[in-house]
Every structure is written in structure tokens, then in C-alpha cells.
Amino acid sequence: MQHSALTRGIIICHCCEKPASIKQDGQTCPRCGTHIHRRKRHSIAYTWALLLASMIMLIPANLLPIMTFKSLGKGDPATIMQGVLQLLEHDMLGIALVVLTASIIIPVLKVVGLIILLLTVQLGWTTNMRQKMLMYHFVEWIGRWSMLDIFVVAILAAIVQLGSLASVTGNTGATAFAAAVIFTMLAANCFDTRLIWDKHLEKLEVFP
């Protein structure tokens, strides 16, 4: 028999996972001092807001150039996609795939995954729960790896400073891209996975 802790009158602290009685909802945790809530507060609204913000930032992130590679005075600002294409031209298929995955595929997958999770909660879907948990863990884990392109720009801008021979500078697209990554990471943090299971448990407990 499966029980949800909330319907048995138990809640846990988000920070240190100490169980507490439901009467302590809103009070501070005696162990770690954070406020205990039965579920993360305004989880759905915050997640949607941050997700929308990151979707908006993804547009300039992909359209604006993120860096300029100048060699012997020649070279134009390049967007993320142009950077990937340049790698392909130089026959670096493997590294082009890594950059493409980290900078374009993962951000899009993260946004789609979080939208599916939000709709699951809001429309009360109760199928494939384990897959949805796996999807959440994947989105949460993979989020940071999108920062790859930002670090590449940072490293190249620091090391390729050979005057007129070769130089690299960062461009504004990098700010938009970094913002998009940060917003999706925060959105994944705000999402409370227990909301996915709440409906499922209600059904189980009403019809045991």
C-alpha cells in the first residue's frame, strides 16, 4: 500500500529532509533553520516564469554573435550555429557535435522537457510517472553543461591575444546565452517533482 506522506500528516524540510508534522507548515525547521512548506511555494508559477524568460533569451542567444575570431585582421563575429559550421568546415565532426549538443540541442530539450512536466501537473496526467521523473533528473543534471560555450569563449578570449596575428573577443550573444542557461537551471530548481505524484496518490488513496 502506497501512502503520500502529506495525507498522513507528515511534511519534510526541503533543505535537510527532516520530517515534521503538518502543524509545522510555514514554521522554521528546528535543524537547519529554513522555512518548512508542504510543497515548494508557487512552484508552477515560478517555473513557468523562468522558463518563459529562458525561451525569450534563447532567441537573441542564437541570433546574435557570441564571439569574433580575427586572424591576420580578417574575421567576422560568429553566432553559435556559425561556430559549429566553421568546425565542420575544418573537418572536426566530433567537437562540432559536442558544441552543437551542448549549445543548441540541450537547451531546446530542457525547455521541452520542463513544458511537458508543467503540463503533466496542470492537466493532471498520471501516466508514465517514472519516465517523467527520469526526464526531470535528466533536465536537472544536464542543465549546467550548456555553459560549455560560455567557457570556450572565455578561454579563447584569454589565450588568443596575439595582437594583429590572431585575437578573440566575446560578443553580446554570450550574455543572452548565459542568461538562458541560468534561467533554465533556476526553473528546474523551482519545480517540485512531488506535484507530479500528488494526483496519482489521490487516486490510489480514494480507490485503494
Binding site: H3, S4, A5, R8, G9, I10, I12, H14, C15, C16, E17, K18, P19, A20, S21, R31, C32, G33, T34, S71, L87, H90, M92, I95, V98, V99, M129, M133, G143, R144, W145, M147, L148, I150, F151, V152, V153, A154, I155, L156, A157, A158, I159, V160, L162, L165, A166, T169, G170, N171, A174, T175, A178, I182, N189, T193, R194, W197, D198, L201
Partner: protein, 212 residues
């Protein structure tokens, strides 16, 4: 429903899955074993042998490696007699010089400040727990560590270094420096710390110390 009353009066006798809210009876977990939620498969407890000793040792090792990783050049680029070296902090200043102030602050945080903070917090915390010293800010340290955890991005910085090396192969000679080797060690130490850390044990010990 007799367990309803029992559950709410004795919350300490139960485990609650933090991911799906499943209520379970609490039981002892042998060392080096993990308990997963039977319903959503999330990790609930991971019991490590000598978790506190390991964390302290890794924290000190990390602090020792942190300085060469940041002070010595990571990569050196040479072409036609010109050469340029790079440290992590120089990648922060290079972004600042490109007028990308927010991004340079983000790189400063995720590649230098957060990894250092995490090492300092863990060394302080596991040192106090190991010697049973009731010290101020123990629960604050643990809380901050948990919040900072996903914002330290040294391993991604490392992947960035590898991508940069490949990108520069055609342009010039790239040679790794002492910084790169120290950084590799630092990343291994950081990853080991997060696998050796038994969060539940740390929180229980903090609770015992702060009650005195």
C-alpha cells in the same frame, strides 16, 4: 487507519521520499549501501563508511590543489615566436575587457568563487564534526554547501579547455601547463567529495552538536 495518528506523532520513525512524497518505515542502512525509493527510484540515503573523515581529507586536498590550479598557466599558446598563457582568472578578465560584465561575473562565480567556497565550507564543517566541536554556523555551512553545489562548474570549464585546444590546433601550438594538471586533480577531488558526502549523517551530527 491506525498509522495516521502514529505517523504524525512520531515523524522521526519514517522516511519520506523527497522526490515523490512516498511514506516509508525508517530502517538502518548498512555502510556502503544505498536506499532508493521503491516507487520513483530516487536516491533516499547513501550510507558511506568514514564519510566525515573522507570529506575532511578531500577538502584539505582540494584547498591545496586550488592554488596551483588558479595561479599557474593552464594553457600556453605559441606561434611565430609569440606566446600567450592563460589562467582561470584571465578568462574572467578577458570577458570583462570584451564588455561582457555579467558573463565575466558568472564565470568568476562558477569557476573560482563557488568551488573555493564549497571547499572551505566542507573543510570547516567536517573538521568540526570530526572533532565534535560545537562551532557557530554549522547548519548555515551545510545549507550553503547544498545550495552552491550545482553552481560550481569546474568540470564544464575543463570540457571548455578541451574544446578550445581542438579549435586552436590549426592556428598555433598549444601546450598544457601546471595549472591544467592541478585543475584535473581539483575536479577529481570535488567529484569524490560529492560522492563521499553522506548528507543524512552530516545533518544528524550537526543536530547533535547544536543541541548541546
Amino acid at each position: 487507519m491506525t498509522d495516521r495518528g502514529l505517523a504524525s506523532t512520531q515523524p522521526g520513525k519514517f522516511w519520506v521520499c523527497p522526490e515523490c512524497d512516498l511514506l516509508m518505515n525508517r530502517r538502518a542502512i548498512p555502510h556502503q549501501h544505498e536506499a532508493h525509493c521503491p516507487r520513483c527510484q530516487s536516491l533516499i540515503v547513501s550510507s558511506k563508511r568514514h564519510s566525515i573523515e573522507w570529506t575532511l581529507a578531500l577538502g584539505i586536498a582540494g584547498l591545496i590543489l586550488f592554488f596551483p590550479a588558479n595561479l599557474f598557466p593552464i594553457l600556453t599558446l605559441t606561434t611565430l615566436g609569440l606566446s600567450q598563457s592563460e589562467t582561470i582568472f584571465m578568462s574572467v578578465t578577458a570577458l570583462y575587457d570584451s564588455h561582457l560584465y555579467a558573463v565575466s561575473a558568472l564565470v568568476l562565480m562558477s569557476a573560482i568563487v563557488v568551488p573555493l567556497m564549497k571547499l572551505l565550507l566542507m573543510t570547516y564543517l567536517s573538521g568540526c564534526l570530526l572533532f565534535h566541536k560545537p562551532a557557530p554556523l554549522l547548519s548555515w555551512a551545510m545549507r550553503s554547501y547544498q545550495q552552491l553545489d550545482s553552481w560550481g562548474m569546474l568540470e564544464i570549464y575543463m570540457l571548455g579547455i578541451l574544446v578550445s585546444i581542438v579549435k586552436l590546433v590549426d592556428v598555433a601550438d598549444v601546450t598544457p601547463g601546471i595549472g591544467l594538471y592541478s585543475l584535473t586533480g581539483l575536479i577529481i577531488v570535488t567529484l569524490l567529495t560529492s560522492t563521499q558526502l553522506d548528507r543524512h549523517r552530516f545533518w544528524r551530527r550537526i543536530e547533535q552538536l547544536e543541541r548541546r
